[in-house]
Subunit: 473 residues, 2 copies
């Protein structure tokens, strides 16, 4: 009874503040408090994520699961009583892993099995697998120096290790992501028959981590299979190579690329009460890799973005501008959803003033990264005290999110949620990106943090000239 | 080779800075960078924790495991080449769980098994168990109103739920910890035959969470058994009670209290180069509950504290003051180690100027809580920019740690490491407080954060009068 009274009185307080039209610092504090408390005590994000992760599972573009995720999230958004919910068609690539990959190395008559997975976009090995001597390099950039003589006929092993000294793990990931993306194309130029890369992981363990790779303009007949091996196996292989230069590596993969298929971005909208033609976007990507269930990457971002609109509705906040949740398809291996959304927005002349993406895991939120003018950044920084009770302190200029990148212009503020990054790459693109590694409270705090920023941007706008209008606003 | 050169040059740089006697802001930054990088790339804390958790395991005071932990950590400290390592004798309580507890409730002829564990310090049930009707209350404070008539002969079920809306989970824990500690003593006054409490956990799951309880001055013959049930079972039991007031609960426990036994605090010291008689302390507690392996509570604090002295030695920092690592025995059910250390320090007239405890889990560090004067707090706050690259922003006045509490006086600055608190009470005092829930990088960041603070306090002291001495210091 006490609790009920408390929440009734909070809602009454909130409604009276909303209706008074007098939303000063005090009322912002009250509204943020309501948003956080609602997310923590009556949030839906975790329940949605449970379904996406455990009932649907991995959602690679073009797969049946990806379509199930489209239908499920559309249906859930429809239940929220938004002003509009629709699907935006987009053609996406379809690549399938096929049979589980296998690999081993053979040294001095001994076979040592290796945990391996095809990189997304790789061709298969020839039927019966690929077997060859191994050339270890620290980076694909070493290949040019080594040249065709040393590379031809070999499997190139790119063993670039994670820079543990970097506190921001995304920086460490950025440092080695190109090895995965370009390694095979570069090695193929010099006649390699395959590439294996050390998984882009912050941890020593047995999980291989997949991720996108591409062949660029390499002719089809020159394309070579490319796989990741676990960090533990990378260490073992490297040690074995030191002792035995004649070591051979074997791997077999049956992955396959099909023609593009029709898929969809899922969009929901609360239409603005004062400026319905000004759009604010919040989103994540609905597709995921296929090895785990994609709970952190990016199930978390999907359900947090849905929760932003639910929390606003639930709290009785009627935004002045139109707020859209966009669940993008195909971030992982094509970015077709992000590109399509921006293309359609441009065609329709829709004025987007703000976009926020959550695509860095469902961990405790630390703050945001902003791609905006210095003046706008200063305006946002003035809101920092409002976030202090929720231990949100990270407000920095920087990147935002891959899916919202195509919207970039001088007129839009782009932002990315920045959760704690320490554990993210333990799970990223691997079989252990699963629901049990997401904490309910951390996920809910992220959703509330996003909603709070959306609320403030809607209320105070993205204008930065301190003229009379702004002061009245 | 490149890496080796890099670390050699870092050490050379560091040494030259140390020897120059000219340690301005620039050199503080360089030293913190070295401390963090060393902890992240060549840290020992995770390896030590692996041994404490997986080779030794749960370390309840008075157990063989607790003594193995004393011997192991002493030996490891001796390997670090500190100036002194010794054991400080302390008598500790010995309580053992005995056979695994079991419990069920019976409603309308159906038995429903319940996940249960004895609270630390509880008496056993009579041989054959305790079976009685159940009286559910929201808090032990309701018992006085209900009175003996309604309570006598019943099992009191204290079903106080976690306040999910509180961002700081320690605040939520503080809100209900007294239910666990005093519940049985209060219920026994009115003739209850047992108490069961809803686990003090931030999560709905099947783990019962133990923790200390006490009977106060209740005569031995009036003491009743007290247990925790999992949050899921608390919900089930409460729902079943609504449908069936005649429901009976059964539980059986064979826990036992023995005479106090001899144990030890483990202490290591780097003797100060300028002020050897001024002591700075860093510590955690070596004992843990018995259900899990105590990796977070407080294996993490133990190994992080050991790492502080190792990182200082490793980095060539020669502290001006004597720095002690103290691994306290018996925080969980007696605090005897903390009290003994303070008692001996007082007897010897040792001047302690600073003590820092890590006892809030091995999660990503967010900052510190300080128990000190406003002037000293302002001095500490001036160091915040040094911590910014490591995403350490939380500097607040507040409590420190249970073990260092007995040292409190006007002359000492007390501090507690404050890691991210969202997951801590998912594991606290339960069977899932285990090594695999500790992340290596998060643990190492905590150790580096502690070392950085110790370094700065040693360098700049705890004096706050801005006289000439201070400026020269």
């Amino acid at each position: 009874m006490n609790k009920l009274m408390k929440s009734v009185s909070t809602i009454v307080l909130l409604l009276s503040l909303m209706l008074s039209g007098n939303m000063k610092a005090q009322s912002d504090e009250a509204i943020l408090k309501t948003l956080y408390e609602t997310s923590l005590t009556k949030g839906k994000s975790y329940e949605w994520l449970d379904y996406l992760s455990n009932t649907i599972g991995g959602r690679l573009s073009g797969s049946t699961n990806a379509e199930l995720a489209v239908q499920y999230t559309k249906k859930e958004l429809e239940k929220l009583g938004l002003d509009k919910v629709w699907l935006q068609p987009v053609m996406v690539p379809k690549w399938v892993r096929g049979e589980k990959e296998m690999g081993y190395f053979e040294t001095k008559g001994q076979l040592q099995k290796v945990n391996i997975c095809a990189l997304g976009g790789s061709v298969a090995t020839p039927n019966g697998g690929t077997k060859a001597q191994v050339l270890e390099v620290g980076t694909y950039k070493d290949l040019e120096t080594l040249g065709e003589e040393k590379i031809k006929g070999k499997i190139v092993f790119i063993n670039r290790s994670w820079e543990q000294e970097l506190v921001n793990t995304f920086q460490a990931y950025g440092g080695c992501a190109t090895e995965r993306y370009r390694g095979a194309a570069e090695a193929a130029k010099y006649g390699a028959v395959g590439t294996i890369i050390r998984s882009l992981s912050s941890r020593q363990d047995d999980y291989p981590h997949t991720g996108s790779m591409a062949y660029g303009d390499l002719p089809v007949e020159q394309r070579i299979p490319s796989a990741a091996i676990s960090t533990n196996d990378a260490v073992k292989l490297s040690e074995a190579l030191k002792k035995d230069k004649d070591l051979v590596f074997f791997f077999e993969m049956s992955c396959q690329k099909f023609d593009d298929v029709l898929s969809h971005n899922v969009i929901g909208e609360i239409t603005g009460s004062e400026f319905p033609n000004e759009y604010m976007l919040v989103g994540g990507h609905l597709d995921s890799w296929d090895l785990g269930d994609g709970a952190h990457d990016d199930g978390a971002g999907v359900v947090q973005s849905m929760e932003v609109l639910r929390l606003l509705s639930e709290s009785g906040v009627r935004p002045k501008r139109s707020i859209r949740v966009v669940l993008f398809m195909n971030e992982e291996n094509g970015l077709r959803g992000g590109r399509k959304y921006a293309e359609v927005a441009k065609e329709k002349g829709e004025k987007h003033i703000f976009a926020l993406e959550s695509d860095a895991g469902g961990f405790t939120p630390r703050g945001f990264s902003f791609d905006c003018s210095d003046l706008m950044f200063a305006k946002i920084e003035s809101w920092k005290p409002l976030f202090k009770p929720y231990l949100i302190h990270y407000f920095e200029k920087g990147g935002s999110g891959a899916d919202i990148g195509p919207l970039k212009s001088d007129d839009i503020v782009l932002a990315g949620l920045r959760p704690d990054s320490q554990r993210y790459f333990d799970h990223h693109h691997a079989a252990n990106d699963t629901f049990e590694h997401v904490n309910k409270r951390e996920l809910a705090l992220g959703a509330a943090t996003m909603t709070s920023l959306v609320f403030l941007i809607d209320k105070y706008g993205t204008e930065t000239i301190t003229d009379e209008k702004e002061i009245k606003d």
